[in-house]
């Protein structure tokens, strides 16, 4: 097996993107097939890499300023990264195939597939990076690809705004991330993960410093994985095409934050305060997103908030010092969330871009395959045994029960909310009577779109079971296994289901109307107001400096001084002959005085 195979996997999407941008721009279908082909080949190679237990790759030195600063281009191929490789290329490949159908009539098809390939390249780079700087570069590249993809239909103002918002919010998180990297580098002298792990003592000897560095690194995850308070970009990112929402905002990019935290778990877990903060931020995000989701009416937004909530669970697991639990949940979540999003995409396309759930209804009969797979995804999400979500969520709740009871109770409430809003979604969309013309006439999607749905529903079912998961992951061990936690979790889920069914069966419109939740806790308004205030202040300050300091002192000051001196000097030009003679005489007297008498 060639030891350069991982490099080929990494570079193949880049080559595909370049080919699409340079050569096949005008031939949309050709571009699509090139991109899809590249992704399938990438998946196959990833499986090959996965089966090899040992892989030695050489580092390419890039910035070599040893002993001060050394950044190689190197790959890390342990179990974690190999699993993520298979996951990302697999789900990515399915979404490429799905996009063939979804974006069939789109005008910017070449651009879309090129950005998609670029995204695959960046994501694989994050997974395979073996040092902070390389990961940061690919981190930013993922942000760029996300910007390009969210703003794919850039003629729409909402899409352009959403893309900008995503990029800027990510940037804020990345700023903290960079500071964290710098802090770690300055303490240990290296940016390579393996080296830092070996040099942890130089960090643990300064616990305050370590906590701050860990929290700053966490900032990157806060931005990328849309945790509170940088969560505002993810729901708006739904302006992009649905396959993108599935790939980026469900399965892969937002998971990059969790992946990064697990990758540098040795750093995070060395500081108890950092873990505490991380766990609580995850918890807050989870419950807040759950609350907001109960009042949303756009199918994609409900799923987006659901993603936020599940990401909160994953971050909570990281904060409870169990990277394995977080990865388990990430793994199962990737499958069922992608499934849910792709199903939503099929519905949207077949209803001619209708996204409001109150304009759908009774689709269970007209779109059977979509309905069935969507139901499987929902059951996995809400944690209904024996679907995959039950096992992974249960693991996290068990951890919380052990470590921090308060977090456990909040997690239970979130599970209740999850069941509630997902059943609300399912009831309103698939059951009841059709509420609009589009709903009446919707048909089942073509096979190129339902195929991936069917394929994804298999892992959604099976991924939780040990025999499947053990191939890919290290399953976390929970001490007090017992039956308390699973029972409570199932009870919470059932309560949610019952509440949803009783409230939303056969309804024409939403009975509950909580403005606070519907307006997403007014976060967007708050941020807009903050930005406004800062800008006003800065603008006022600049205006003051410009007007009073630069203008008055510099520009007008110079001219006024010149004028003043000129006016003074002008007084010498009196025009009177005898005055001149007088001054002349004064000069002579002075001259003689100084020449003779001094």
């Amino acid at each position: 097996m060639s030891s350069a195979l991982p490099y080929y996997i990494l570079l193949l999407p880049l080559v595909s993107a370049a080919a699409l941008l340079l050569f096949t721009r005008r031939y949309a279908s050709l571009s699509a097939f090139v991109s899809v082909g590249a992704s399938i080949i990438g998946f196959v190679c990833a499986c090959l890499v996965f089966r090899e237990s040992e892989f030695a790759t050489t580092d390419l030195p890039w910035i070599d300023l040893r002993p001060l600063f050394y950044v190689p281009i190197g790959l890390t191929l342990d179990g974690l990264s190999k699993t993520m490789l298979v996951l990302v290329t697999g789900v990515g490949g399915l979404i490429h195939i799905y996009s063939l159908g979804y974006m069939q009539d789109d005008a910017g098809k070449s651009r879309y597939f090129a950005s998609l390939s670029l995204f695959m390249f960046s994501m694989l780079g994050i997974i395979l990076a073996n040092n902070f700087v390389m990961m940061f570069i690919f981190w930013e590249l993922v942000g760029v690809s996300s910007y390009l993809l969210i703003g794919h239909w850039f003629e729409r103002d909402a899409a352009a705004e959403a893309a900008k918002k995503a990029f800027l919010t990510n940037r804020i998180g990345d700023f903290g991330f960079m500071l964290g990297i710098l802090m770690v580098w300055s303490a240990t002298g290296s940016v390579i993960f393996r080296d830092i792990a070996g040099k942890m003592t130089s960090l643990t000897s300064h616990p305050g410093y370590l906590t701050i560095a860990a929290l700053l690194v966490f900032c990157g995850a806060v931005g990328k994985s849309a945790q509170f308070p940088l969560h505002v970009w993810l729901p708006d990112a739904m302006e992009g095409p649905t396959p993108i929402s599935a790939l980026i905002h469900a399965a892969t990019m937002v998971a990059a934050g969790v992946y990064m935290l697990v990758r540098v778990g040795f750093l995070i877990q060395a500081s108890a305060q950092a873990l505490h903060v991380i766990a609580w931020i995850g918890t807050i995000t989870a419950v807040m997103a759950g609350l907001i989701a109960t009042q949303q009416n756009d199918i994609k937004r409900i799923l987006a908030y659901s993603t936020l909530s599940q990401l909160g669970y994953m971050i909570m697991a990281v904060g409870l010092a169990s990277g394995e639990a977080a990865m388990f949940h990430l793994f199962t979540h990737a499958f069922f969330k992608a499934l849910l999003f792709l199903g939503a995409g099929a519905i949207i396309i077949m209803l001619h871009h209708e996204q409001n759930i109150w304009k759908m209804g009774g689709l269970g009969k007209r779109l059977p395959i979509t309905c069935a797979t969507f139901l499987i995804g929902t059951l996995a999400l809400i944690g209904c045994p024996p679907f995959s979500g039950f096992f992974s969520k249960d693991t996290i709740l068990g951890l919380a029960y052990e470590k921090d009871k308060l977090i456990f109770y909040i997690g239970l409430c979130t599970a209740f909310l999850t069941a509630f809003y997902m059943l609300r979604l399912v009831l309103v969309v698939f059951f009841g009577k059709p509420r609009s013309d589009n709903a009446l006439r919707g048909d089942e999607a073509p096979f190129v779109m339902t195929g991936p749905l069917l394929v994804l529903s298999v892992p959604a079912l099976l991924a939780g079971f040990g025999f499947f998961a053990k191939i890919f992951l290290i399953l976390p061990r929970v001490e007090e296994a017992g039956h308390v936690v699973p029972t409570l979790a199932v009870v919470a889920m059932l309560l949610g289901v019952i509440a949803a069914v009783s409230l939303y069966r056969k309804r024409e419109s939403d009975p509950i109307d909580l403005a606070f939740l519907r307006k997403r806790f007014y976060f967007d308004e708050l941020y807009a107001w903050l930005i406004d205030i800062t800008q006003e202040f800065l603008a006022g300050l600049s205006a003051f400096i410009d007007h009073w300091i630069i203008d008055a002192l510099g520009v007008r000051g110079a001219s006024t001084t010149t004028w003043g001196v000129g006016s003074l000097l002008r007084c010498l030009q009196i025009g009177n002959l005898q005055a001149y003679a007088f001054i002349f005489g004064l000069g002579i007297i002075g001259l003689i005085y100084f020449a003779v008498f001094k």
């Binding site: 002008r570 030009q573 009196i574 009177n576 002959l577």
Partner: protein, 106 residues
């Protein structure tokens, strides 16, 4: 016998009178004449020094007297041109009062 100092003092007094005339009189012709007084005072000084410093052969140092010669010539030329200017000025302004001729000011 008059001493060198006496001659120089007289010359100084003449010069001062000429200078006072330039500063205090308003008529431009009078000012011009005071100017001539000043020049002549300088001439007197020069000649006094010429007589005081004798050359090697016991005769006065005639260099100073040549200088006086030049001064007289230049003064004559200057008076000619100056008076021509005054005439032109009088033709333009119809006045010889020096305070009326003050157009070259800010």
């Amino acid at each position: 016998m008059a001493t060198l100092g006496d001659y120089l003092l007289v010359s100084g007094m003449l010069f001062t009178m000429g200078f006072a005339g330039v500063l205090l009189r308003r008529n431009i012709i009078i000012i011009f004449m005071s100017l001539e007084l000043m020049l002549n005072a300088a001439n007197l000084s020069l000649v006094a020094f010429s007589r005081y410093r004798l050359g090697a052969d016991g005769l006065p140092n005639y260099n100073a007297q040549v200088f006086v010669f030049f001064i007289i010539t230049v003064a004559a030329a200057e008076v000619a041109v100056g008076l021509a200017i005054i005439v032109a000025l009088y033709r333009a302004r119809q006045t010889t009062h020096v305070e009326d001729i003050n157009a070259l000011k800010f």
